[in-house]
Symmetry: C2
Subunit: 340 residues, 2 copies
């Protein structure tokens, strides 16, 4: 690989000291406008590109943010990533991206990889398997700025961004009840997840408020395996005491529900109404179109990045204080929850 000219060569070409050139390029006030101009034009002519590693080594920062997500083929996480990248690119930050595939072991390995300072900060959403958080504590202890979004880790005292999980879930459940549902089921990926807990609380409270008693069997704990989930849901739909409404706490479980329904004689929404947290662009193209709770994914990503970059550029003035920032979701009612 030909790395092009370096600072020394550029300086030699200009008959200046490397330090002068460095300062000129960094727009230091101690350099005369005349030399600045000369330096900059020569730098452009020779297409000088500063070596990022020399700089990182010297300044102990890399202009890089690591993003850890549990899944890439997921509209929510993809949108969050786009939001993060928007802001990051604006400020000259690069993104290292890691997918844990919902696997804690992979998550631990990745987190350990970041212990060496390769990234200036980490923004992540934990895997659905994460209960032991020692790896995250270690990362936090290192002093690396760390932010969580969506699937947060409450025990780490830092800033977290989520949507109004409790409220949305409560409203979603209430909507199902208003549409005539008497027996609403709740589908979740894992009991460990912060979002599961909040969304489940909202679901339970809406049931109680409506005078409906929550059935334990209707809080269905799904797995990572698509086919298993479909069968699990199908079994529930085949049982004598089947639900007439479903709140899916994540998108993939709504899709699994649709697949499961196809294996029965039930119809959505006549026999079963479905609402789901989902950022699918094409919820309206499903048959029937799916009522969704859409999270402000891009905004969440942008806010994460903004806060992080503020912290990185002005470390003294900005602390990632231990708080949860909530940005509301939006419910879009479609055919899957139509009343008869």
């Amino acid at each position: 690989m030909n790395n092009g000219v370096n600072l020394k060569e550029l300086a030699a070409e200009l008959k200046l000291a490397p330090s002068t050139v460095s300062r000129a390029l960094n727009d230091s006030w101690e350099i005369s406008e005349a030399t600045k101009k000369k330096v900059i034009s020569m730098a452009e002519k020779l297409n000088y590109q500063p070596n990022p590693f020399a700089r990182s080594l010297r300044e102990n920062k890399s202009k890089t943010i690591a993003v850890i997500i549990p899944e890439r083929i997921n509209n929510f996480f993809a949108q969050v990533m786009d939001g993060i990248e928007n802001i990051a690119q604006e400020h000259g930050y690069h993104l290292l991206v890691y997918n844990t595939h919902e696997d804690v072991d992979r998550e631990k390995k990745i987190v350990n990889l970041l212990l060496n300072g390769r990234a200036d900060a980490v923004v992540m959403s934990v895997s659905s398997q994460t209960s032991d958080i020692s790896h995250l504590e270690k990362l936090y202890a290192r002093g690396l700025p760390l932010i969580f979004f969506d699937r947060i880790c409450t025990d780490i005292p830092t800033t977290k961004f989520i949507t109004n999980d409790y409220e949305s879930s409560y409203q979603g459940t209430k909507h199902l009840i208003q549409q005539g549902c008497k027996k609403v089921a709740f589908l979740m990926l894992s009991k460990e997840l912060s979002i599961t807990k909040e969304r489940h609380r909202g679901y339970l409270d809406a049931l109680l408020e409506a005078g409906l008693s929550p059935e334990p069997a209707f809080s269905l704990n799904c797995s990572m395996c698509e086919e298993q989930n479909i069968e699990l849901i199908r079994e529930m739909l085949w049982s004598n005491n089947r639900p007439d409404g479903i709140l899916a706490s994540v998108e993939k479980l709504a899709l699994a529900t649709y697949q499961a329904v196809k294996r029965t004689k039930l119809r959505i929404p006549q026999d079963l109404k479905v609402i789901s947290f989902s950022n699918m662009g094409i919820a309206g193209l499903l048959e029937p179109s799916l009522t969704t709770i859409t999270q402000p994914a891009i905004t969440i990503g942008q806010e994460c990045a903004k806060l992080l970059i503020k912290k990185l550029t002005k470390p003294k003035q900005n602390d990632l204080i231990d708080q949860v920032i909530t940005i509301p979701s939006k419910i879009t009612i479609r055919s899957s929850t139509l009343a008869e």
Copy 2:
């Protein structure tokens, strides 16, 4: 940020020279087994993590691969990314990810960012706007290993991975004709794209072979704007001479077609049959379910990464020779192309 111990401190703790410790950790043959063991155990005890920037500066390589895609909310690219990451992680490589949002200017900026050696290699799929390729030529000239996939740049003499675009498109069109279509339209994102050209050729040849004369108006050049595309397609469907079959060369145009059809009284597949290149997991859940040409996205990603890593680890033995490697797609027939 507390970076933990460094080599010098570790060496001091062990009462050894830094160079010795370095060699021990790198499993050099010139170090005795005894000291190796001592060093390694102490390194673990102190949780020593080598500074990646020092190493990168010294070795002039970063163990990082840059990936540039035109779109993140896209099943194909997400799967390719997963494939790349699989292999990269296995070999200790990190991924810098950039989304051009189908914008050449953004693509140019990103490519220029990579000129400084931040990444050891680049794998990319060009934006649909890319016709001037000077930025790519510059990148190539720098000697950075560069690989293209899917939307390739034929003029850069390196290895490219694609699916059998011509053949799949030919077969897809033939399928439409066999199902009774007489007037097949072809939807494309941009005429500049390599995949557009190949897929269009396949489409045309299938028409000609069937004795159907291609109508220029049926080769529809769409834009980046979803709503515009929907209207463009709707207009075509409302014209006197409307197509009875559509081959969408990318997924989003099939979805736009579905949306457009909703604005007409036409029915799929009775009035209009649709087939599309698509890696959607839920093609079967659309109404009607969508016949797809599915690209081997994960494999493409894996192959890109494998080749690149081979090149990076054994540069002498491996060249990215100027060739196009084709991995076949798979057609899955669903309801959207059912004959009456």
